[in-house]
Symmetry: C2
């Protein structure tokens, strides 16, 4: 059988990393910039991020969080306050040392105005926000403080990949302070669950919720919780983290309060974040060899209407008909928002136009020509089905059922991703099976194994390029002997190769 032509070359099977780059390009999501490690997020990619922001921001506000904004720069001495924290970030931070450029000896501009204390471009904001918390919090009446910041952060990465790992990226970071350990732990788990629900119901990305092992914790955290998703190369991607910081930062930065009894206590703090990395997760979960697939809840355009124009015929009646349909559709609400509908009136060959929208992942395409007008029907293509799988639908039936259809597509993408992940998930009960499962050349996947949270077998994991992703929170009550160390009474840990 002849190989089927695809819009993306290479296919996922041929070369997954290169396929990813080609989808990013074909869907016009982003491109490399002239600044090392930084990307330009193009309008279609940015609109997907805006959709994520809008939904997450509502969830944060619904759980009592308020937005604020803190400085981009962090004085070096602040970063140094928490020992593990600075160890984690000092190796990869952009350092501002001067505050102007002036003409140098050879005529070019050189840095001048050296700063007394270097400033670091924030890699994360625990220390600068903690310094403010320390000022803002006096009494138990001031607690809890629940703030969120939408911002850019910089971590100097050597190997970068668009959306997944870039020197500068966009994210939200939540920071909270509480009177008790319980309150802070509850917040940590509540927000992890907000991330989980967002990933599943909006991104249609199924995730495993779990606690990070000791070696994978956020620098300075007591506990880091994560949501882990499986990409189509069976690797794991950490999609969001929620940290219980205990009193580590509170002690380092003197964030304390007076209790109702008049005692002075340190606060308990948390932090958490998701970033533009989620766009990478979205791409790698749903897309296929014809390009991007965007779940309807995040699609910048949910429906594109393509007028089919005959040569030498007056295009106006068809275009007017399409605009009228678009206007009607835009009045419909799905998931509490008006439908996002575009009529593509550009003067381009029909095939080229159609394929652009396929590659960009628009959930529903409607082709409408003079004959469809006469028949009161639309010719519909769904991005979650094959490009060839198109069918005529009565126009009014389509309008009446479009909300259901979008929900069907949304749910279908989640179910498909879940089925893919579950088929590539195993339980392994020996070190030998583990080595065989993750051996080079094997497809690998997710492996659940009884294992100790213990760094002693990390070299073994490293030799297989595998990491402990998390100690899952759900369906993880059984205890057994660690398959690596033999230690008794261990929970299962989820292992995988990862991004």
């Amino acid at each position: 059988m002849a190989k089927q032509r695809t819009a993306i070359t290479p296919t996922r099977e041929e070369n997954y990393p290169e396929w990813y780059q080609q989808v990013v390009k074909a869907a016009d999501l982003a491109e490399v910039s002239p600044v090392r490690g930084c990307m330009v997020i193009k309008p279609w990619g940015y609109a997907i991020w805006e959709g994520m922001q809008k939904d997450l921001d509502r969830r944060f506000k619904d759980t009592g969080h308020v937005n604020a904004y803190f400085p981009l720069f962090i004085p070096k001495s602040f970063l140094e306050k928490e020992a593990e924290h600075v160890d984690g970030f000092a190796k990869e931070c952009a350092v501002v040392t001067h505050h102007r450029l002036e003409e140098g000896p050879d005529g070019g501009l050189v840095p001048a105005g050296e700063l007394e204390e270097p400033l670091v471009v924030r890699p994360t904001s625990e220390t600068i926000i903690g310094a403010m918390f320390s000022k803002w919090i006096q009494s138990y009446r001031d607690l809890p403080i629940l703030v969120n910041q939408w911002a850019n952060v910089v971590r100097w990465e050597l190997r970068t990949r668009m959306f997944l790992r870039t020197t500068e990226f966009l994210w939200q970071e939540g920071h909270t302070a509480h009177a008790t350990e319980k309150d802070a732990r509850d917040e940590t788990m509540q927000m992890l669950d907000v991330y989980r629900d967002f990933a599943e119901s909006v991104m249609a990305v199924p995730v495993v919720q779990g606690r990070k092992t000791e070696g994978e914790r956020f620098p300075g955290a007591v506990d880091t919780f994560t949501i882990e998703a499986m990409m189509q190369d069976r690797k794991a991607l950490q999609a969001g983290t929620s940290h219980f910081l205990g009193q580590n930062f509170a002690k380092a930065q003197d964030i304390s309060y007076q209790t109702s009894e008049g005692d002075i206590e340190h606060c308990w703090t948390t932090s958490r974040g998701v970033s533009t990395r989620l766009v990478g997760a979205l791409i790698m979960t749903h897309s296929d060899d014809d390009g991007l697939i965007v779940p309807p809840a995040l699609a910048p355009q949910q429906i594109v209407i393509l007028p089919v124009l005959r040569k030498n015929a007056d295009p106006e009646p068809v275009i007017a008909y399409c605009r009228e349909l678009a206007a009607e559709l835009k009045q419909i609400r799905w998931q509490d928002e008006r439908l996002r509908v575009q009529v593509d009136e550009r003067d381009l060959r029909g095939g080229e136009k159609t394929w652009q929208h396929i590659k960009k992942g628009v959930p529903i395409r409607l082709e409408i020509g003079p004959r469809d007008m006469e028949n009161h029907s639309v010719f519909m293509g769904r991005r979650d089905l094959s490009p060839k799988d198109k069918s005529g639908v009565p126009r009014d039936e389509f309008v009446a059922q479009v909300g259901e259809l979008l929900q069907e597509i949304q749910d279908g993408l989640l179910a498909r991703a879940k089925a893919y992940r579950d088929a590539a998930t195993v339980t392994l009960s020996s070190k030998e099976d583990f080595a065989a499962y993750f051996a080079a050349g094997q497809p690998g996947g997710f492996a659940w194994c009884f294992a100790a949270d213990d760094p002693s077998y990390e070299p073994f994991l490293k030799s297989l390029k595998v990491t402990a992703r998390c100690i899952p929170l759900d369906n993880n009550d059984a205890l057994g002997d660690c398959i690596f160390t033999g230690a008794a009474g261990q929970q299962k840990i989820l292992f995988a190769k990862s991004y």
Copy 2:
């Protein structure tokens, strides 16, 4: 007569700059951060900025612009491409020279990993966005490109003041490329008018639209247009600018396209921006000696309901009644958005609570106690009126008319600001009158004068601490002799002291 007590000390009349800082503090809008020149935008201040963003973003999208995101860092060589541009920004930019911190000889961390080419933290993004335009634009079919970015920028300021002038600030920057001069000029003016309409109808800040004189232009622009507002100390504040860049950046960065005839031409580009400075403009236009006044269109809470609780009485019925009213009000739409209503249930003295909301500028306060419940009425205070000017209103009448009332407050604030400005605006016809009007100790204000766009009399302006704000676009057809140089046939220029 005894001096009336005010919530803000000093009053505007006593010490305007200090009054401003005290309003920022009393309304909990922002505070200085431990990072030189950078502020922390607190939740109430940030929510006002979010309101501005939301409205502006819709206006940008309605005029065909799309959001994208470009790198924070600009290579030094990019900034150097346009000569005037680099001159304008090199003196005040944060320079990144290293990409990690490592342990130094005395044990502390020192910058390490020196960059081959220093990076500048963007003071504005013409050069990095231009570099991308140069790649993206091949043919006339690619034009126009209309992008917008919401971002942080850094300009190293020596004297900073919250919102008005800070080292880091938040803004939007629009950047466009066009095939013809006319298209680029039309875009420049269209977006200036978007700013004007936003300032007037949303911020309730009246503005003068005009062209900047030569000395006040954006570095690298052919023409800069501005909207200028008057603050309550009669000084001007530049609230937004829209730049026609001609082909300056297109030539410096080779942004060119093939015409439909096959010729290669340089593009015509524009840029523009408004920033968190608008929050400063808002404060200084409307606020009074009791604190902030926020126009309803931008108020994070438009209505606060204050349950009036009697000692030793069950608070539940009153609180339930207030919540029910809030729920009903939240269903009402005004200016296409649901009303933003809060019930302040905190356990605080009534007077303290009320004054907090006055200082924060909430447009409408409703006090509701057991007697009001019985009478089916609410006790209403309006922030645009005196704190003492409160009145009982039937509950259902209030609900039925709340939209009209908010509009009345919104329009009233604009009318009041306009009346203030017009009363402090004069036309002057001699250099002597000019010197007298702006003499130290005089109130000053806006002065329209026939004047040449000519740097020769700048030293005279400087001696009075006055600047040319703009050559107004409207009501400026008459020509006359320059009051400074005597040159004939000149338009009027608007002069003022300024921020």
